[in-house]
Symmetry: C2
Subunit: 204 residues, 2 copies
DNA sequence: GTCTATATCATGATAGAC
DNA sequence: GTCTATCATGATATAGAC
């Protein structure tokens, strides 16, 4: 995205990303994207035939940021606790760099989930192997017994939700103090890791 | 909402709630609301001058479902652990009855948070007293020390996020098996309470 | 209070000149 | 490839009859 190649297509994609992320698929206006890209509406339709196709190009680009990183960690040889720590670190790091992602993805997902489903299938993501790893760690007595789906939901929830609900946190928890909010996000990885480990690791 | 009073205004509110929740503020069409209420578009403008006003009536009605219940628990005399358990139970109970709320609220919040802010101010919700309660329990050695904002974020995240991300859970964790997903939601309160208590309670 | 008809406007999309 | 001009559609909003 940061390439110096300022071709018309690159300018459109950059402008479209900004507008779609800020306004969502339905709120975004082709006119606004054109203005932001410094061109006119007709050119948008020349490069991307419809608004829907332009949106899909942006949306899948954003979703693809998250998946591969997680997959690599899951498929490594580390212990389950170490994997959880790495995933939390990777997630929070990504979210601090792109804090708009959760709100955007949730919004468009509730509007039309089919785009995500196609991507999940395409990546060949297999949750069963993750469930198995968790079950085996439970069998070995390393962590407390619970349905893997609940454990995964808990971890992902704590990582993602505070970014999706940023306006609430900002106003209710931090009285619109931006530096306090930023500090909070920078502490999240450490806090979540400690919280999860206390919750699931069985003390000997 | 369930009153037998089927005046035009009631019919509009009911129809608008369905359409707004399904499509959001921007996706909702006045024509669709009119059809659903069995009237014509012009009457919508007669009862609620603009789409914005109609939306606000629906949105604040939904937000108001959540706040008072939580406030009552917070202001009670129970121990901090007991309050957490009660809040989780109350939250999950509400969300199982109205699973659409999180997605809807997050979507509209990222679009325009001013409506929520007005309501928070109106309810006189004071987070500082909650922070103080948590700090005092830490001083007494009842629970592990951490910033109250993180503890609250963790609890609310685990309650709310799985409902906001329902399409992801359904597809990735439960392969579109609706009964498994329903069972999962029914287990959430128990799982979250156990998880949080293991994470924060200091064993003697 | 309720409705029909219509004015007004914004948007996504296209045709055709250069 | 890029532009200007324009279309077709659908949405909000209002005027005014009953």
């Amino acid at each position: 995205m940061e390439t110096k190649k300022d071709s018309t297509e690159e300018k459109i994609l950059e402008a479209a990303k900004n507008v779609f992320v800020a306004k969502g698929m339905e709120g975004a206006r082709m006119q606004e994207i054109a203005d932001e890209a410094g061109i006119n509406k007709a050119l948008l339709h020349y490069y991307f035939r419809t608004k829907e196709r332009l949106f899909e190009a942006i949306f899948s680009g954003i979703i693809k940021l998250a998946f591969p990183k997680i997959m690599t960690i899951v498929q490594s040889e580390a212990s389950i606790v170490s994997k959880i720590e790495q995933i939390v670190d990777a997630y929070i790091d990504l979210l601090i760099k792109h804090p708009f992602i959760p709100g955007f993805v949730l919004k468009e997902l509730n509007r039309d989930p089919s785009g995500l489903f196609k991507l999940v299938v395409k990546f060949g993501l297999n949750p069963q192997s993750v469930f198995d790893q968790i079950e085996q760690a439970m069998d070995r007595g390393e962590i407390r017994r619970m349905k893997p789906q609940h454990l995964l939901s808990n971890i992902v929830s704590m990582c993602v939700f505070p970014f999706a609900a940023r306006p609430i946190l900002s106003f209710i928890l931090f009285k619109d103090d931006p530096s306090a909010l930023e500090a909070f996000y920078n502490e999240r990885a450490t806090v979540i890791k400690e919280f999860v480990i206390n919750a699931i690791v069985i003390k000997k």
